[in-house]
Subunit: 163 residues, 4 copies
């Protein structure tokens, strides 16, 4: 296990400008990218980032995306966003103190659900993932139609396809 105190090269927890994303090798078809750093608690006994820790990272950008796209602000009366399925590929292990960029985008949507994709970039692509998310009534009693402006944002900003 070896690491060094890196100089700060990224603004963390904040959507990065396109030129910074490009410098981190994030392709232009990702509409949002946010940086963070591997912490000690992300590692497991094998000294690499644990398989479940990545899901907490994806959760971080998913929530930020929901808020920025006006889907859900986690306030009273907001729709309830339910994860129905998730698949993840672990391309290359990550170690303590590595900086990474999380990306998210909607690739397709239907009336009440959409497919979300994620990337974890650290020079190269370390992890890619995909989730199916359903919008429910605030009390969870039934599904809820995606608002028109959200669907428009999926198409115009993310390049998502209806269907």
């Amino acid at each position: 296990m070896g690491f060094t105190t890196l100089p700060m090269t990224l603004i963390y927890h904040t959507p990065l400008p396109r030129e910074v994303l490009r410098a981190q090798n994030v392709p232009d078809d990702w509409p949002i990218g946010i940086a963070d750093r591997v912490h000690f608690g992300d590692l497991d006994a094998l000294q690499h980032v644990n398989n479940a820790a990545y899901l907490k990272w994806l959760e971080n950008i998913r929530i930020q995306y929901f808020m920025d796209w006006g889907i859900c602000r986690y306030q009273d009366g907001d729709p309830r966003m339910v994860l129905k399925a998730l698949s993840i590929e672990y391309h290359k292990e990550m170690s303590l103190n590595e900086d990474y960029v999380l990306t998210a985008r909607t690739v397709s949507f239907r009336n009440t659900s959409f497919t979300h994709e994620y990337g974890v970039f650290c020079g190269d692509l370390r992890v890619s993932a995909r989730a199916v998310i359903v919008m429910m009534q605030p009390d969870g009693s039934g599904k809820m139609a995606l608002p028109e402006d959200v669907k428009r944002r999926f198409v115009e900003i993310d390049g998502a396809e209806a269907g």
Copy 2:
């Protein structure tokens, strides 16, 4: 949020006998099932089990399976088991203090890798998942062939298919 102190009905952390698995509605094609209980720390702010917490549960049974099937005991010189991909479906939410049974089985294998399946049962099937796992040299330097007796166990106990 409502729960009660349940009487102990299951032996936790220990492979359950077939008749107990059947009483929990676990189909007979699962070769191993181990019980645990939802803890407060498994919940997130929405008061259901968090999507990432299930991966820690799958890790628990995966490690027990590796040890019981003689694949890896996490001792010096043991092969390194690497998760390459995982997919998970969330069928129904879970709440504090619910008892559940984790199941695992190998459905197929190749020379150095295999496909592992998981279930989370709590009366009905709450979560199902599938992982691709590669066996690596202890120092991670390269892939490693699955031993013959492990492959035999995959076939004879789990009903896995070679290929």
Copy 3:
């Protein structure tokens, strides 16, 4: 890192009878003891149980204690239990798959608060801890007096002192 699949010797997640607690070297002045096992996710990169993981264990027995003593069942309208301070001593490290017994007791109480003590036993005492807990109104608007029957239980079962 070395461990073996232990035979089940304890009933987990359930208050243990006195004779089982004694067999685990738990002194008789602990009114409740509940067993669990070290999981892979409790370990950190140094391969021992992480310092923060123990607080999740203490939380598990604290919640069970609150429910069993009739203090809080985490249902609507229940008082809100707030942790004000916690101190913990790490006597001896713990490793994967070790079985342990969590203990809890109230040692003293005032009108709206009490001091809770905890132990983690695994043959010997691995961790001891102490917390100050305040009972608040369900909406968190102010402190709430401990009910008489709870205070009586503190005295009669735990041997706690008023003051």
Copy 4:
């Protein structure tokens, strides 16, 4: 539960300059302060930051402090830093997306151990904590004397007292 997407006001994961610490109401007797943000995974079912999550935050600044002060870089052959005791006071609850500054300092030291203090600032002091840490041989076989330059740094930068 209510929050908003805050504009980035802090540089995260990086020791902050004195004037930024002052603007965050961090007293000058803290030699190091590092910012981070409350994530969804820090919350528990009661929708505030969980009592154990703070210990992960303290771990983050402790490790950064160890590296910056030249105590341990978590490389082969480095001393093993062992937490013997920790006490924490929870002054005020924290919520999703709040920015905070973690601080650390050594207040006293002996031959092989030292007392470390921590703060969590978010406008005001939310959490304060104190730990006793022992320096062990890399193989954990025995205690290890603190190097002279580390002790000098404790005195000159942190204002720690020998004894």
